[in-house]
Symmetry: C2
Subunit: 263 residues, 2 copies
């Protein structure tokens, strides 16, 4: 099942309906970027704007496969942007709470100055493909839904953790499925946690909040992604993401706040 | 009037009430960090949690002095965090839409690893104090509500723009008013825009969205702040903030997405 179908939303009646598909999970719980993409599709439909520009999700409860509802509420419909809030609701509990502004990226223009560049990596075929192992439950099932190739220096599975909380890699959908701004939302939260490369006890780091800025529509081809953490402290860590398209343009930026394992 | 009084919220009845005070404005419009602090106080009161942990604001309309209402709605009350959404509503229009998670920073703990340090700056007395000029309207009135000293290399007013979209400086409240996590929210949005130091047409850059993570309760004394921009492109720019306390600890991190002047 393609990402497009797995994140499709029926917006014919309010609340909108969608379904968490099988296989987008990490040990049974749907990936956060995947849930974000479902929510964003519903909000964009309500806003009648094609693209998320900035969207924030607070993660409330794990999502399991099955039906969900989304109830987008227009906060303000402006000239260039429409701001929307929504709850992505599972069968029993709210899963994520969302707030975002939507617009048409093709209508944006302005001066350019970029003081960064895509991560320098060996070609995809020399990077480490993460393939799910159903028996171990790791790499998680959702790695089967994307084609993700980790930089060999960051491939904690095959070697040792690098010691740096950094994850770099290539990303695309299988079967030549095109990447769009909703796919970029998935990209901001589908890499292994940066803490897996730190010399700290390895554990899942639950996301409190994730904000993604979609800066441009990606051109076809591999994405290059870079996730890094500078501040692990006080029970929390941030994870900063950059997503670059095949032309070397930044297409998305993200930051999440996650909880670290309690001492 | 102290920051504490200027951001006080009456939470005795729903919706809560507050007032935008005089003098916290930039050419008549209330500063975004100041509005965020009012909203966050209301949300923390509703959550019965002392501190914002992660909070996002989407800016809808400029705020003018006068009464406002805030209608915090609990999204989820969890074990460690309570998630709340709210609209800060002015006399005629909604001003900002908010989503945040609140908790008690004193209850958070975990491993520490920090790969950054506070900005290196001359002492406050050798930095450039920004003092409002009511005739020019610049520096803006709100600079009279804080004691803000810009790094001489970034003080675009006295010298020339540095060419780098970077703003570093010291910050405290006047009259020894203590700094708290709500003051940190102000800190994330009260420096001059980084674009004032870029070799680009100078213009106000309206904030679409700002997210702040409060990482620790600040110790007394000067804050050191650093705001930088790496990606000016496609009509948008991000501004990344770090706020460090007098002990050299990161106490807040922020990112905003702003619109650049259209070509």
């Amino acid at each position: 099942m393609s990402f497009k179908i797995a994140t499709a939303v029926n917006s014919e009646q309010h609340p909108y309906t969608a379904a968490i598909a099988e296989g987008w999970d990490v040990v049974g719980n749907a990936n956060g970027g995947y849930l974000l993409a479902i929510g964003a599709r519903a909000m964009a439909a309500a806003a009648a704007r094609p693209h998320p520009i900035s969207i924030t999700a607070h993660y409330l409860s794990p999502g399991r496969p099955g039906p969900v509802t989304i109830d987008p509420q227009i906060v303000k419909a402006g000239r260039r942007l429409t701001t929307v809030r929504a709850t992505l609701q599972g069968a029993e509990k709210p899963l994520i709470e969302l707030l975002g502004s939507f617009g048409d990226l093709e209508s944006f223009e302005g001066p350019a100055r970029v003081d960064a560049s895509p991560p320098d990596m060996p070609p995809p075929e020399e990077c480490e493909r993460t393939i799910p192992d159903p028996e171990l439950g790791f790499p998680p099932a959702m790695m089967g839904r994307v084609d993700l190739r980790l930089h060999p220096d960051d491939a904690f599975l095959k070697g040792k953790p690098s010691g740096d909380p950094l994850m770099r890699g290539w990303l695309r959908f299988p079967d030549d499925e095109p990447m769009d701004p909703f796919g970029l939302l998935l990209a901001t939260d589908c890499f292994p946690p940066t803490i897996f490369n730190a010399n700290l006890p390895v554990a899942w780091t639950p996301t409190v909040e994730l904000t993604a800025h979609i800066r441009a529509i990606p051109e076809p081809g591999w994405l290059r992604c870079r996730f890094s953490t500078r501040f692990i402290s006080g029970g929390m860590m941030e994870e900063d993401g950059e997503v670059w398209d095949s032309t070397g343009r930044l297409v998305a930026q993200s930051r999440q706040l996650a909880l670290t394992p309690q001492a």
